[in-house]
Amino acid sequence: MKPFDYQRAHSLADASGRMGDAASIIAGGTNLLDLMKIQVMTPSRVIDISRLSGMDRIEPHGDGLRIGALVTNTTLATDARIRAGWPVLSRAILAGASAQIRNKATTGGNLLQRTRCPYFYDTAMACNKRAPGTGCSAQGGSGRMLALFGTSDDCLAAHPSDMAVGLAVLGAEVEIRASSGDTRTLPVTQLYTLPGNRPDIETGLEKGDIITAVILPAPRIGTRQTYRKVRDRASYAFALVSVAAVLKMDGDTIAEAALAFGGVAPRPWTDAAVNGLLTGKRPEPATFERAAAHLVPDTAPHPETAFKRPLLRRTLIATLREASGLAGQVDTARNAPSGAPQ
């Protein structure tokens, strides 16, 4: 690691005031320290907000919940209220990382984690996200973990978070405190900017902005929720493709449908038209095929990412079968990677 000054923030205003071009906030540190060790990130000042009081609580917020930015992934996934009212969020978090990392990683940090594109991680390679203007080594390189949607010629990287996909499907909002002390909220999907010709800019956050909480809307009573993740090994791997689904059935038709997709875009990906194609329809193979055909792009931005097109189609259909009850009884453990919908 490059040397840095370690500073403990006394308050949010204090943390905000200490931020600058070469400063970085640290909370769980599971991604930042990893990147600092290989000198992909080299902050000269690291501001520790992990001891700020009150930010590690999950509190009622209207009919929903306000999740402090310092709530760990484990605390969030195992919270009895989350398990009962927003199970897809529990499932999504439990699908990510390892128990050790979930114990340390925070809600705010999870949202702001960096891509795991191998060229971003390799300082010997060109990467527009890490070193703007140097080019994109993924073009013509290895592309198994790259995105299908939202890419540009300058960057093909995917956002790695599972939690963010769970939040996106639930319509959660991010609460942001500006350096002025004002607070604003943004839907999780709008926190992120697409790479365009500035892949180094990943969010709409400005200097001094700090994510203070995530706000969950009221639970969607009567919905079936599921999170299905496909990856290269059975556990502790980033998603090739993941699908979060929240479906409400009314007899034999789908009354409401919300979907979000992970591993396929620089942000948790959503497509309102796909949700619309399912709403009011019977949960049958033709319905699912139509939704999948609308979602899956005709071409992939990288030849090695082309396999994700059929993979996404099949994962979406399997998830819809499960969430609509068409899949039948969910059997145990390993054979039911996303578990029983609730």
Binding site: P3, Y6, D34, D48, A99, N103, S235, A333, P337, A340
Partner: protein, 283 residues
Amino acid sequence: MGGPSGPPFSVSARRLGAGTAGVNAHAPGTDRGVPSPPLERAGQAVPVRLAAALVANDFTRPAALHRAARPRRAEEKFWNRQRVAWFGPDTVGPDTARPQLALDLSSLNARHEERFLMTKLTVNGQSHTLALDPRTTLLDALRDHLDLTGTKKGCDHGQCGACTVLVNGTRVNSCLCLAAMHDEDEITTIEGLGSPDSLNALQAAFVEKDGYQCGYCTPGQIMSATALFDELKAGHPSYVSPDLDHAEMTDAEIAERMSGNLCRCSAYPLIREAIAMAAEVKS
């Protein structure tokens, strides 16, 4: 991959025999914070000689040591580069050109010490106060400053789990923790579970079931499994739990919950058996 994350000079000082477990080798108040080099050991081997070059140059030394401490040209270049990397370009001044002294550390040590953070860690019930470079991970603090080498450094990036310890009762990758962020925290390492004469249930089960081959990942596996029991007891679900409100000790649950601990010898089936056996012993 991951460069030196501990203070570069503490290792040198310790190699010279200055550091002992639980004692900060750079305690404020000692002579410039650098322990006296035992002169008779200098010049033995290259690392020691380089170490002598690093720590000895504030001291009056016999000419022999002076020569021994003089790095070769390539080494000189290397250390100058390191100095720039560690302390910034402004620390390379005219003195670097002095032929007999490639490194004048007096000002560097002072700058280095300014960054030190006093950190209190309670490890296995024993409290220690360490002065640490901010870069020091909890893993390096345990291994290099407290001589608790039971906790292993595998990947140093949170991918393998060999460094798993308990912080205030929960398992974490100690390689992904800054020690300074754990000031006042309670740490449990493999040394805190049982002793060779009196293994705890998990340790005994790993021996009984032969849950390892080379053994390097074993301390991490055992620390991780220790926390697994507590998490199951607290009703935490996992990715493979059919129901988010009920989790049982099944083989699939153990596999999923231990996925943050890799075993390159692939002793996984026996590791899972050992954990299941210890769970039975406990209940």
